[in-house]
């Protein structure tokens, strides 16, 4: 009896296991004929499904309302497209399983670091044909197009161009008395001045003068901009498909020594730079625990909307000048498309971008989209400032300028030096070539070493980093 029960129970267990596996197939079997039934009597063009990964996250109700407006207009113009909101916040640890399972939204945003990696892994769609048919390929800012291309094929469209500058917390500048007679912050023009300014702020307010990042690759990213100003070039393109690491040049050593001084001579950094990343930097700036932060114009919502800094207390200045000149690291935040998206689906996504005003088209819809976006920024206390020309279509630029004039909610003088510098010739500089992220990782380790140790041997550390980076380059790029 007992044995029989045992047998029965184990059979039930096995069955329950197989039932779990079988469920999907039975559902499939019932659903396929159904879909055939519905599609066969109506000879209409097949409905295109547009899964919008760029849909705002559920908590941003205002942004969702704006997008609902876009969808309404979109449905009027393109009735054969079904728009499905599918908010997706790109994250490296979840992306690949989703993409490999074919569940990627048709269009989604990613980080500026990712395009080449995603292209190499064939995760995103080649949209060259779509762009060419619309003439958008020629309207794209050539340097940004370069970032989103491989072997002459284009894999994304720019959401924003960005250039690094220094964001200032004006409250702390005021507290330290570092404002001119009109109340504008006396921003630093050279890196030495930046150290002095930071010191004054720290002495007067007790808060950090500068938030420097040293937790992850963002540390190396910011530092590469400092190094350029000291005259360093970190990776040399040999022109034959190979690269030479150049992390230990005298200029790079000088730039690293400068960071070391910020910590050990001036002592103006936040309590734990080793725990500061892109997001915490904005928190430090927005909440007034740091007065300056290297950041870009496309993130002005971070200190304000996200971290509560009043709109008129945020200013931006250009990256300071160093002995090697003045450069601003330039790049773009892209929209990319699922690799299993069809031509029509990509078309629908591009049409949607057009309605959002994120395309090189100055149609009425596009302008209405831009206005809605600007209005929403004003309502949420986000500075409305010029974007970086990610599209070079003059009509679009004019339309944009007009909208910024109309909705401008900040004093443009607070941003003047930043925009002046980035418009000057030779100021914008693309990220270093080669294995950029690996280089950042090596640099970040050195940053950590010099920040925790006043006796760190900068030259030896950079020699080691250079050796490591060169070995990675040699393994990857073979002649």
């Amino acid at each position: 009896m007992k044995r029989l029960l045992c047998l029965l129970l184990s059979l039930v267990m096995i069955m329950s296991l197989t039932v779990g596996c079988g469920k999907e197939t039975t559902e499939d079997a019932t659903s396929t004929p159904q879909s055939q039934d519905t599609s066969s009597p109506t000879p209409e063009p097949e409905k295109v499904v547009l899964k919008l990964g760029i849909w705002p996250e559920p908590t941003l109700t205002d942004d969702i309302a704006v997008h609902e407006g876009y969808v309404e207009r979109f449905n009027e113009l393109y009735p054969n497209v079904e728009v499905v909101p599918a908010h997706y916040k790109y994250a490296t640890d979840t992306f690949v399983p989703m993409a490999e399972a074919g569940n990627c939204p048709t269009i989604f945003e990613t980080w500026f670091t990712e395009p080449q990696k995603l292209i190499a892994g064939e995760f995103i769609a080649d949209i060259t044909d779509n762009l060419k048919a619309r003439g958008w390929d020629k309207a794209m800012n050539p340097s940004i197009r370069e970032l989103l291309s491989k072997d002459g094929r284009i894999y994304g469209t720019p959401r924003d161009g960005y250039a690094l500058g220094i964001m200032l917390n004006v409250e702390l500048f005021e507290e330290a008395g570092l404002v001119d007679e009109n109340g504008y912050p006396l921003y630093p023009k050279t890196w030495d001045e930046l150290a002095e300014t930071a010191k004054k702020i720290k002495d007067a307010t007790g808060q950090a003068g500068l938030c420097l990042l040293a937790k992850d690759n963002a540390g190396g990213w910011h530092w590469s901009n400092i190094a350029w100003c000291f005259g360093a070039t970190l990776t040399i393109d040999n022109g034959d498909g190979t690269f030479t690491a150049n992390l230990n040049s005298p200029e790079a050593i000088a730039a690293m020594n400068y960071v070391k001084d910020l910590k050990w001579k001036y002592d103006v950094l936040t309590a734990d730079p080793l725990n500061e990343d892109w997001g915490t930097g904005f928190t430090a700036l927005g909440t007034g625990t740091a007065a300056m932060y290297i950041a870009a114009n496309d993130a002005v919502n971070q200190p304000t909307q996200v971290n509560g800094l009043p709109l008129d207390k945020l200013a931006m200045c250009a990256i300071p000048e160093g002995p090697g000149g003045q450069y601003s690291l330039f790049g773009g935040t892209p929209y990319v498309f699922a690799n299993n998206a069809t031509y029509e689906e990509i078309e629908a996504a591009l049409n949607y971008l057009e309605i959002m005003g994120q395309a090189p088209v100055a149609s009425d819809e596009a302008i209405a989209g831009m206005r809605a976006g600007a209005q929403n920024k004003v309502a949420n206390g986000v500075p409305v400032i010029p974007r970086f020309p990610s599209w070079i279509d003059q009509e679009v630029l004019d339309a944009e300028a007009k909208i910024i004039e109309e909705f401008g909610n900040v004093d443009t003088n607070m941003y003047q030096s930043y925009f002046d510098a980035t418009k000057s010739d030779g100021n914008l500089r693309m990220e270093e070539p080669g294995l950029t992220q690996d280089m950042y990782a090596e640099i970040t380790k050195v940053l950590q070493a010099v920040i925790i140790d006043p006796d760190a041997d900068v030259e030896a550390l950079l020699n080691k980093a250079n050796e490591n980076y060169q070995s990675l380059l040699d393994q990857t790029f073979k002649k």
């Binding site: 044995r3 045992c6 047998l7 184990s10 059979l11 267990m13 096995i14 296991l17 490296t92 640890d93 992306f95 690949v96 993409a99 490999e100 990696k117 190499a120 892994g121 064939e122 995760f123 040293a214 937790k215 992850d216 936040t270 309590a271 734990d272 080793l274 725990n275 992220q437 090596e442 970040t444 380790k445 050195v446 950590q448 070493a449 920040i451 925790i452 550390l461 490591n468 070995s471 990675l472 393994q475």
Partner: protein, 300 residues
């Protein structure tokens, strides 16, 4: 074993039927094991020998991924650190649950209070524990420990940012969290000891030390050996503690092999390299477990 064989020979038919039931009972878990453990294991060995786009295999590259792995600038640091984690976890963490279990077993009053008390940190979600300790270890004037130290006139320390202290401090955090659950296992082991032994010892005039030495330690010795190897295996796979607390820093002082795997797979999308490193980790663990069984077998 010998006994079973003879029995088997005697009642051959009966045993076959019993075997069938046994296999049937095991079948669901065998299927699950095959699907979720063995198949992925073999698959990752295969993946480690190929180049890939995402997880789509491209071409067979032999051992190239392994060679590149050993040449990676962070590999040696991660390898060394992983053994340092084990070393410190044994020094700091191994005795703590035993001592706690003995103390609580010897307690007369409020026994269950202490039992719940030591288990309490285990109920805190792992990530919350890590975040909380990160606030404790913050350098500068705003870290909890530094605030406490300043009350007694000691200048602020850098805690995790001192490369010599990073790993021991992370181990202390882990011990704080998990020692309680291990000590419950020891307590169960101790409670199995026959009370007659205690009574006899007490009558013979044995004090607490003698009881611990001559009764408790011998009784939980084999349990401790099992938990030792389990601890080594689990600490070997340390990942999220350093990932969140230090991101492997400062200057690679706390990067672990699993973290390197994580970086390969989930930061760089380089799955073949991640698989190669997992295979290496698996091989090391097999060797360690082999050494362990060999040692304990000899003793028996």
């Amino acid at each position: 074993m010998v006994k079973a064989n003879t029995l088997n020979r005697n009642n051959k038919t009966k045993f076959k039927r019993q075997d069938l039931v046994g296999w049937l009972v095991m079948l669901p878990s065998l299927i699950l094991f095959a699907f979720f453990v063995w198949e992925p294991l073999l698959e990752s060995i295969r993946l480690s020998l190929y180049s890939a786009k995402g997880i789509r295999l491209q071409e067979f590259v032999g051992l190239e991924n392994y060679i590149r792995l050993f040449r990676h600038p962070d590999f040696l640091a991660a390898f060394r650190n992983t053994f340092l984690y084990i070393f410190y976890s044994l020094i700091i963490g191994f005795m703590v649950p035993i001592v706690m279990a003995v103390l609580i077993s010897e307690t007369v009053h409020l026994k269950s209070f202490f039992r719940v008390g030591v288990y309490f940190p285990n109920m805190v979600p792992g990530m919350a524990t890590i975040m909380m300790w990160s606030f404790f270890f913050r350098p500068g004037n705003t870290g909890v420990l530094n605030i406490l130290l300043s009350k007694v006139g000691i200048s602020p320390q850098v805690w995790l940012n001192n490369p010599k202290w990073t790993i021991p401090l992370i181990i202390i955090t882990m011990t704080w969290k998990s020692a309680g659950s291990t000590s419950l296992i020891y307590m169960a082991g101790i409670s199995r000891i026959s009370s007659e032994l205690y009574e006899a010892a007490t009558i013979d005039g044995a004090g607490i030390w003698q009881r611990v030495r001559h009764i408790i330690v011998p009784s939980i010795f084999s349990l401790a050996k099992t938990l030792l190897i389990l601890q080594i295996i689990s600490v070997f796979q340390i990942l999220y503690e350093p990932l969140v607390m230090t991101n492997g820093g400062p200057n690679n002082a706390s990067i672990s092999l699993m973290m390197l795997t994580y970086n390969y797979a989930f930061r760089d999308f380089n799955y073949p390299m991640g698989a190669a490193l997992s295979v290496v980790i698996c091989a090391i663990l097999i060797v360690l477990s082999g050494i362990y069984t060999k040692l304990t077998k000899d003793k028996e």
